[in-house]
């Protein structure tokens, strides 16, 4: 029998309503929307992709709070991107809102089905089965010539909820990503403070006790799994639109591995952490690709080891630790 340390959120329950995190989120929203138009193109693109990735990692945060690490998030990330892309590719639909709705819907629908299976799995078996599912999608896409096989296909957008994007496309897309990321983070923050959300860390600490208290562990895990998939789908859709291209690599396990990396780097302490982690990740990656393409993964791996050894709570724990002192 092993004694579990109480988790962070049990020690210090976040207060509902307008609290520090909500204020920070609103502040970040205002700043990003205001700063967006004056950013150079490359920075805006980088920030756009970072926030989309942050949305994906936000879903992983929820699973990690539940004690589950998925090596198959790429499945939903890729599904989201392909759902958005396929609308344009086959039906000529080029509306951002419709595309994103499709991304989320497809990812969530698949997660509802697979969730029935995965909710029974823990630890490395959860990691392995989710990995297998995402590799199945990868294998399918690589051999499907209608979807461009290994090359994938391109997509473009023209309107957002019927409103033409025109020459403002870049700015409006950036704002869309900011708003989606904000809504996701705020929603997740509220969810984590709710009764159901708080069960996540309880399950990680001791499942059996949660069952004794009358909650269904499988149902909570299933719901959390679907939420995390929907977020990954949204992130995938946003990245697909931002880059204007989708390909099967999005479902390959190394993509999921990068999400895991960001989640570990950032920590699960706050809904803001995934976005911070993603921004750091994207920034370092962009510069590393530019100046030293063959040492990028070396940096990643070393950072990951250092974080696991010395900062088990991720970068975010630096802030909370100082606050506690």
């Amino acid at each position: 029998m092993q004694v579990n340390k109480p988790s962070q959120s049990l020690k210090r329950p976040p207060a509902p309503g307008v609290d520090r995190t909500t204020l920070m989120l609103v502040g970040a929203l205002v700043i990003l929307l205001a700063v967006g138009p004056i950013l150079p193109r490359w920075a805006m693109f980088m920030l756009n992709v970072s926030l989309s990735w942050g949305t994906v990692v936000l879903g992983m945060l929820l699973l990690m709070r539940t004690g589950l690490v998925s090596f198959g998030t790429g499945l939903y990330y890729c599904l989201g991107a392909y759902a958005a892309g396929a609308l344009h590719h086959f039906y000529g639909i080029a509306d951002v809102a419709v595309m994103l709705a499709a991304s989320v819907a497809v990812a969530a629908a698949v997660a509802v089905v697979l969730g029935f299976l995965l909710a029974k799995y823990r630890d490395i078996f959860f990691a392995m089965l989710s990995l297998a599912f995402s590799m199945i999608l990868y294998g399918l896409l690589v051999k499907t010539s209608a979807l461009g096989s290994t090359d994938g296909f391109g997509l473009s957008v023209k309107t957002i909820a019927g409103f033409p994007l025109g020459e403002w496309e870049r700015n409006l897309m950036f704002s869309t990503t900011v708003v989606v990321a904000f809504c996701a983070a705020l929603g997740m923050h509220r969810y984590l403070s709710s009764h159901q959300g708080r069960l996540a860390s309880a399950i990680r600490d001791n499942e059996l006790r949660v069952e004794y208290m009358g909650a269904s562990v499988r149902r909570v895990i299933h719901v959390n799994y679907v939420i995390s998939a929907a977020l990954a789908g949204a992130g995938g859709g946003l990245v697909g639109i931002a880059i204007g291209h989708v390909d099967p690599e999005m479902a390959f396990w190394t993509t999921s591995g990068e999400f895991v990396f960001i989640a570990i780097l950032a920590g699960t302490g706050s809904v803001l952490a995934p976005f911070l982690g993603a921004i750091i990740f994207e920034t370092v990656r962009s510069f590393a690709y530019e100046y030293s393409p063959n040492t990028w993964q070396l940096i990643l791996g070393t950072t990951m080891l250092l974080v696991i050894m010395f900062l088990p709570g991720g970068l975010w724990s630096i802030f909370t630790r100082r606050k506690a002192a």
Partner: protein, 298 residues
Amino acid sequence: MNQFLAIVIDGIIYSSWLFIIAVGLTLIYGVMKILNVAHGSLYALGAYAATAFGGYWLAQGYPPIGSYGMLVLAAVFVGLVAGPLIERGLLRLMYGKDEVVLVLVTYAVFLILEDMTKLAFGVDPLSIPEPYGLLGSFEIGELMYPTYSLVLVLVSVFVAVALALFLGRTRHGKVLQAVIHDREIASAVGINVSRVYLVTFTAGVMLAALGGALTAPTISVQPGIAAEVIVLAFAVVVIGGLGSLGGAALGAVIVGMVRAWAVHKWPEVELFSVYAVMALVLIMRPKGLFAAPEARKI
């Protein structure tokens, strides 16, 4: 009939290869409970070392038959250097942590080794085709097969039998089984568990490198092979049951046959079939086909 024979023979060859690349992974998991994501990188390292060792041997003008020895030597070399380095230098600090954390640790090692290989050997494809071409080919009915494939089959059978005999019939093997069964009791009765871990990890790395070294003559050795191999190895060991030697053999045969069947009958599903089988087995028997039932721990 001919196609059936072709599927079976291709399946056997592919299964043998899968067994060699996966057996080290299951050995390490069985003893140390570490799912080693870096296994693929060690495979790649073995392949690169093989091109370097074999290339050097051939460049010196020594008899080409000796290049087989160099392939094995490359694997032993990688095992003896990388094994103790990773186990003593890193993993030892991590024992007692969660299995999932150890997956993340070895994933970090995977990332580091990816770039170390690039820095050491460059990003251009390397090759060492001589050992492959040297043996010629043989015929079964109307079908031609490279004799080198036969070598792969023999090596994998040899590895399987040697490991099974070692585990079941020798004193060291029984010590290993004791550690697998209960680490604490084993150390209480005087078994040096730390040394068993070191030796096991080194042996596992050597097997990964051997897989890479023996594959090197048949492929072009380039960045990216590690990421492909590790998921295949995962599929094999997960199907059979993590940590089970017989399971790895069974997993290799199932995956090998399914893939050979897919290649001949339904090429579109080739890549996807392996993972479909993996998912199916995990759904039916979550701990793999050969895993023993486990008591629920509170």
